[in-house]
Amino acid sequence: MTVWLSRLTGGCRALFARRAVERELDDELRAHFEMAVEQKMAARMSRAEARRAARLEMGNLEVVKDQVRDVGWESLVDAVGRDLRDAWRSVRRSPGVTTLAVLTLALGLGSATAVFTLAHGVLFTPLPYEDPDRLVQFELGIGPDRFGISPGQYVTIEHQSRRLSGVGAFYVQEMTLTSEERPERIRVGRMTASFLPVLGVTPSLGRYVAPEARRTGANGGGYLLGHRTWVRRFGADPGVLGRPLTLDGVVAPIVGVLPEGFFAPRDLLSPGDVEVWAPLVLNRADLNWGNHYLTAIGRLAPGADLARAQTESDLLLDRIGRARPAYFPDNVEVSLTVSPVLDRLTGEVRPALLMLIGAVSLVVLITTANVGGMLLSRGHGRRRELAVRAALGAGRWSVSRQLLTESVLLAGGATVLGTAVAALLLAILPRLAPADLPRLDGIGLDWWALSFIGVIGALTALVLGVVSAASALRSDLSPSLETGLQRGDIRRESLGREVLVTGQIALAVVLIVAAGLLLRSFGTMLQIDPGFDPSHLLTLRVAPPEGFAAGESSGTFRKRLVERFEELPGVTGVAAANAVPLADHPGDTVFDIEGRPSALESGARDSAQYQHATQRMVTPGYFDVLGVPILGGRGFRESDRAGAPGVVIINQQLAERFWHGRDPVGRRMRMHWTPHRNGRWLEIVGVAGNAKQLSLIDEFDTEMLHPVAQAGPNTGIGSMATIMVLIRTTADPTALVETVRHAAASLDPRVPVYDIRTMDQRVAASIAQPRLTLVLVGAFSLVSLGLAAIAIYGVVAHAVNQRTTELAIRIALGARTGSLLALVLGRAWRSGVVGLTAGLAAAVACARVFRAQFYGIDPTDPVAIGAVVVTVSAALLVAIYLPARRVSAVDPITALRVS
């Protein structure tokens, strides 16, 4: 469109060659004028008359010029510049309000940006795979439990699936990395050759574990390094390829490095970072069908969708169940679920993050309403100024444009400051976050965050501008000059502020109720009895040196280790186990009870009757050191060694579920592996108290405990790959960390000692996520309560100031302070009561939506809600009382004299 082009160039010329354009216009008008004069003189007017007539004809030349200038778009640029200058001047004239407004807005914008960026990074950023939306993950559900899938099931899916174009699997284990320095336990992922191709990931250096690994055995393909490991341990040396790496004593070359940012789709089975990847070769001749340790990933085939893949997987499960009936219990529900990889990764934190998003949105609304109120009351004081402008010829449009420009300035400043707030929060938040919150690494002030704050900053500017312009324009400006304020103006204006204040109170109440409920539920969590005594307890993991991995020697090492630790000063007891509560999952099994139907035989489909238990191996001292009581029978003894009759201790949960109050001591049970292979019968010698498994807020599991001396490769109980040590201390256990390290090293310097934490730390970590939610929502609610209190304070103070004359007259006529207070407080009270009531109603509705976030309490918990009502009322009362006090201080004589 050439019209646009010529308009553009013309406008630019007017902007950048302003002088020339103006001079030309002047010349043209002068020529016009003189020609008119000449013409009139030719019609026999005198020169003076002609000039006068010509001037009359042309009108005010300045007005004409303005009209000409207004033709082009560049006049708008000029106007905006003028508005900005005016706005800057006006904003600077009231530095107090401006500072407060900018700070308040910055707080809202900044925290919103931080939370949204966090949520966006965790929940919505695409995974670092090719076309990640097409990737799905398998999950086997048996009764209430969720598992990965077994190698046998995996191979079935691999062979029979038509809806998936490819499947791959991996699992993660700990292995000892031997190097020149001290040995370390690291996480090693083992993946099928198809795993990386299915994800669409290729190593950034070298090659992926090649298909020939299938033939050449476990380490034929060599090791792949994670990018971070490559940088940290090898200084990002590209010459690392081909160098040997020793894992659990097996030497193989490094064949490649994975791209930066790569991580395996994690699930409960394999959290944490994997340092090295090794090939996983399934023994296809003798597939394991009973251990569900693989995380299987599939890529949807072209044309397939999630629903179809699920239908197919139901079918596959059916086939697997019919082909190998022995592996699935008849008496519980079994499912094979296909879900998007991203859902599996973020499913657990999603509700908490959505709740935070909701909370921070309320904060933005409250801060905006608060600043809106400030602008309204300031606009009130500026009525005279605006009236003067109007009298000098400013139209409504130009007055509102100026007010809008002021909001743009305020919001602009707040956006800049808010960006700093967001950056700060984004630096702090990941530190508060629980360790298992996925994908925190890459989160920071990126383009997404900047665009976000830009957009909400602009929206805020618009809302504020419209609010202040609407209030300025609603009433006629001109009378303000003559008579000051009209009565109706005051009323309308205070109505606007009242609505804003009521809204703020309601929103703040929603936040405070949320914080109150979270606080209550967190308090409930802290009250939870974990079933043991977590204080003065140090826990650490030791990997037995190579060569100790199997047989009697590992038992010897363990005994020496325990004895060595027992000798340390300040230690009152030491025990070892394959896993301790709140650290790792110890493993689980299906069991038979002597004289009853086998675990997997038919019965009612009732998950409570699913004969399944967590399985733990412990030294005799375990119960004493951890503080788990033996409720019936006996604990383990040194005599429960290999070769002695097999014994087992069950926890209360298991005893109650399967013996219903009768004494299980003396009965026998065994582990059920396959229909043809079972563990030996074990006599139940004792019943132990329940202890929490992975988190304080989990229900108690059914649990079997075995004497570690009766465990081992040939016992079916398994052997302890690494040893978890429990040390009960008299003083602060953290003071003992170095001593313990030294003690272990004195036994064998090759032994990695790691994962050293006090039990109290583990307790805290298990509730880190609810704590983060509580801290954030709590902070938001405090800020909102403060803002709401300030707002209602402002309303009352304003009312007192506005009505000083009226009050003075009333006092002079003998009114009592009480009736005067009622006069001033009436509206504020209404705001408070309506806001509180509406807020409570909304809060209860919201709390129901987020019910799952509150542990152990009802969303309408009377204690929390009562406390909220008291707190909010108290805060509002103070905020109302302080300014209202001034009523009694009104001196009628001074007040009346002033007006």
């Binding site: 010529s6 013309g10 030309e24 016009h32 003189e34 020609m35 004809e57 000409v68 207004d70 033709v71």
Partner: protein, 116 residues
């Protein structure tokens, strides 16, 4: 902000067309254009500077007319406007539209009951 005056006696929007038509006859300066409109309309159309000059700026910006400083017959410097090619095309199009419309309006205004 200044208040915009209405062009005196000229239907808004038609002033541009009239200026283009005037310039179609010969290039003219601003005063001449006003005078010419006055003369041709036999004194009916009296366009003041406040309407003329914004119209010049608008038409110039849209590339319909172009200005050039020249000497007048009285040896005075003045800005002479002339039609551009696009201006001529616009004039022809608008004239056609105007004639169609005014004929239609005239028919409506003359309409009597018998035509229903």
């Amino acid at each position: 902000m200044p208040v915009r005056e209405k062009p005196s006696g000229v239907v808004q929007g038609t002033l541009d067309m009239l200026i283009l038509k005037t310039l179609d006859l010969e290039p003219l300066h601003g005063y001449g254009i006003g005078l010419r409109l006055h003369q041709i309309s036999r004194g009916v159309l009296d366009v003041n500077a406040g309407s003329l000059f914004p119209a010049f700026r608008r038409l110039e910006r849209d590339g319909l007319i172009t200005g050039e400083w020249r000497a007048t017959e009285n040896n005075r410097r003045a800005k002479y406007y002339s039609l551009t090619r696009r201006g001529r095309a616009t004039l022809e199009r608008e004239t056609r539209e105007w004639e169609t419309q005014s004929a239609a309006i005239a028919r409506v205004l003359r309409a009597s009951r018998s035509e229903l």
